[in-house]
């Protein structure tokens, strides 16, 4: 670990490809144990910076340290301490039973056979992969393969787990299981997480901090709530009422967003800082019969789009 204890540290990190600047003076640091969502459009510079963090790509200029090490000069040591999952690329041996991939990776990381088996058993148990151990990797479903990739990346108990699009193409249930596992892994081992994703559910469930990259630059660094706050995104309370009701215009702290079906369904926008769902609901149900309600969280895709628009104007 570096002197100041950061597990990732970049300062004025720059990477040029011929004429384009893929990463532009990026500066951020991640402390051990954090879970950081790394989001941005395709080509924003996410993968390029991950490649610089892991020693695959040489920075054009600037400073980068992973686990306190220079990934270019100490790639092998970085590889011992970091686990990486590239969503679109496999770490596994497609033509052998899954079990063999774990055995090979154990040998690559110089774990002895007992340690490999113990760690494999634990991960397989947590990820519920037991029945697939004898299946050739090429026959696994996408969800199964992804879980196997994550187990493979965690086999050597890394301090930092970097996930590049871990949930891409997964069905709802597979996503859910994967997220639950990652939450548990963090809780048990304090593994630091850096994940890129297009799925805002991943960020909401897994990350306490968000980095937004746009055109190679860091456009935002803070909490998810802060991200929503910056661009004024608000939560929406959707009320299904028993009877067609006139527009709910007099609710304190909330404003009517839209009314459907002659007032049977009404959407109220409210600021979480100013009021609570309970207060809004109490106010409305004291006057009208409420049959059902849902809360729509800020659409983070939309928030990110607004961040882009703002950073482009600047």
């Amino acid at each position: 670990m570096s002197a100041n204890g950061n597990i990732i540290e970049t300062r004025d990190l720059v990477r040029d490809f011929r004429r384009t600047r893929a990463v532009d003076r990026m500066t951020f640091s991640v402390e051990p144990g954090e879970a950081v969502g790394y989001i941005g459009a395709n080509g924003a510079g996410k993968s390029t910076s991950i490649k610089m963090l892991t020693g695959i790509l040489k920075p054009t200029s600037g400073h980068v340290r992973t686990c306190g090490l220079d990934p270019m000069r100490e790639r092998v040591e970085v590889a011992r301490r970091v686990g990486v999952v590239f969503g679109q690329r496999s770490q596994l041996w497609w033509d052998l039973p899954l079990r063999d991939s774990f055995a090979i990776l154990g040998a690559i990381h110089r774990l002895d056979e007992r340690a490999t088996r113990a760690r494999t058993d634990l991960l397989v148990d947590q990820l519920e992969m037991g029945p697939q151990l004898g299946t050739p990797v090429r026959s696994l479903s996408l969800g199964q393969r992804m879980r196997a990739e994550i187990a493979a990346a965690l086999l050597h108990s890394p301090e930092l787990l970097i996930l590049d699009e871990p949930t891409i193409g997964l069905d709802v249930l597979s996503k859910q299981r994967l997220r639950e596992f990652l939450v548990a892994e963090r809780r048990q081992r304090g593994t630091t997480l850096l994940l890129t994703t297009h799925d805002m559910g991943d960020i909401e469930r897994l990350c306490d901090r968000v980095l937004v990259v746009d055109h190679g630059r860091l456009a935002f660094d803070g909490t998810l709530a802060g991200l929503a706050g910056t661009v004024g995104a608000q939560r929406v309370l959707v009320l299904d009422l028993a009877q067609p009701t006139p527009d709910l215009l007099d609710v304190p702290g909330a404003t009517l967003f839209e009314s459907e079906s002659g007032g049977l369904r009404q959407r109220l926008v409210f600021d979480a800082e100013a009021t609570t769902v309970a207060a809004v609901l109490a106010h409305v149900s004291s006057r009208h019969e409420v049959r059902d309600l849902t809360i729509e969280e800020p659409d983070i895709e939309d928030v990110v789009r607004r961040i882009y628009a703002a950073s482009r104007r600047a």
């Binding site: 590889a79 590239f86 690329r89 063999d100 040998a107 690559i108």
Partner: protein, 284 residues
């Protein structure tokens, strides 16, 4: 005294264990490659038959030539058979262990190279052990048969030195072809679809190694000796083993094959370094 020898014994044992441990990942990787090929037994057998066919086709060329002439480039049939055998053994062995290095663009496209970068082993060692083309034993076995026939029918003044020379030749020849594949792999980092170019000195080198060097005009002979040193794979040692006259290939030169292999590896290492630097510069 006893204690000292015991200590050195123990330390030797310890260092042997350390080496075993260092090599364990590669042993496991190669074993897994072998296992994977055995899983498709029918296709494995077909593949072996295929490479036997390649070996026989290569041999047919020698046979056809000597059906029409008795001597070519100073070699008679037996001598040509020895050159054929030595070069084919070396090529088949190198092809079996590192022949997939010239498939690098495929590895890059599949993202496999990035996966290698995030594993704690040297990149070249990982690539070398990422495949083991056992099907090449087909071509290897044709060449081994040719070697036995050539050595037993030729009039050779056998001595310990001759036996040593044969063994050394096979080792150096394999190392030379492996270096060519490695250099080809390194260059593939630059060249998009560069296989055509690099094939010219891997497969081209293999073809040149099978020939009597006397058939080549001067500049070409210099090229195959000093630039792509395939003359050292078979012809130069064969001349010494069979005690043939060639003023340009004195017998002592046959003992220089390790030197040629070493130089080939220096160049291969540079090509590889250049290639990986370029990759880290250009991105996948």
């Amino acid at each position: 005294m006893v204690e000292v020898s015991e200590v050195s014994e123990v330390s030797r044992w310890a260092s042997r264990c350390a080496l075993r441990e260092r090599l364990r990942p590669y042993r496991v990787l190669l074993a897994s490659r072998a296992r994977a090929q055995m899983q498709y037994r029918a296709s494995f057998v077909t593949d072996i038959l295929g490479t036997v066919g390649v070996g026989l086709a290569e041999f047919a060329e020698v046979w056809v030539i000597f059906h029409n002439v008795t001597v070519l480039g100073g070699l008679d049939f037996t001598a040509a058979l020895l050159v054929f055998a030595l070069s084919n053994i070396a090529f088949a062995l190198a092809d079996m262990f590192v022949g997939h290095l010239d498939q690098l663009p495929r590895y890059i496209r599949a993202g496999q190279v990035d996966a290698f970068y995030v594993r704690p082993l040297p990149l070249l060692a990982q690539l070398m052990t990422s495949d083991l083309s056992l099907r090449r034993v087909g071509r290897l076995s044709v060449a081994l048969v040719a070697l036995v026939v050539a050595l037993s029918t030729a009039h050779i003044a056998w001595s310990a030195a001759t036996v040593g020379l044969v063994a050394l030749t096979v080792l150096s020849g394999t190392a030379i072809f492996s270096a060519l594949f490695t250099a080809a792999g390194g260059l593939q980092f630059f060249l998009v679809d560069g296989a055509e170019l690099t094939n010219s000195f891997t497969y081209g080198g293999s073809y040149a190694a099978q020939q009597s060097q006397q058939v080549f005009p001067g500049p070409l002979r210099i090229f195959w000796t000093f630039v792509v040193p395939t003359a050292f794979v078979a012809y130069i040692p064969a001349v010494a083993i069979l005690d043939l006259p060639d003023s340009l290939a004195p017998y002592w030169l046959a003992w220089c094959t390790p030197l040629a292999a070493l130089l080939a590896w220096v160049v291969a290492g540079l090509c590889w370094r250049l290639g990986t630097r370029h990759y880290q510069g250009a991105g996948g």
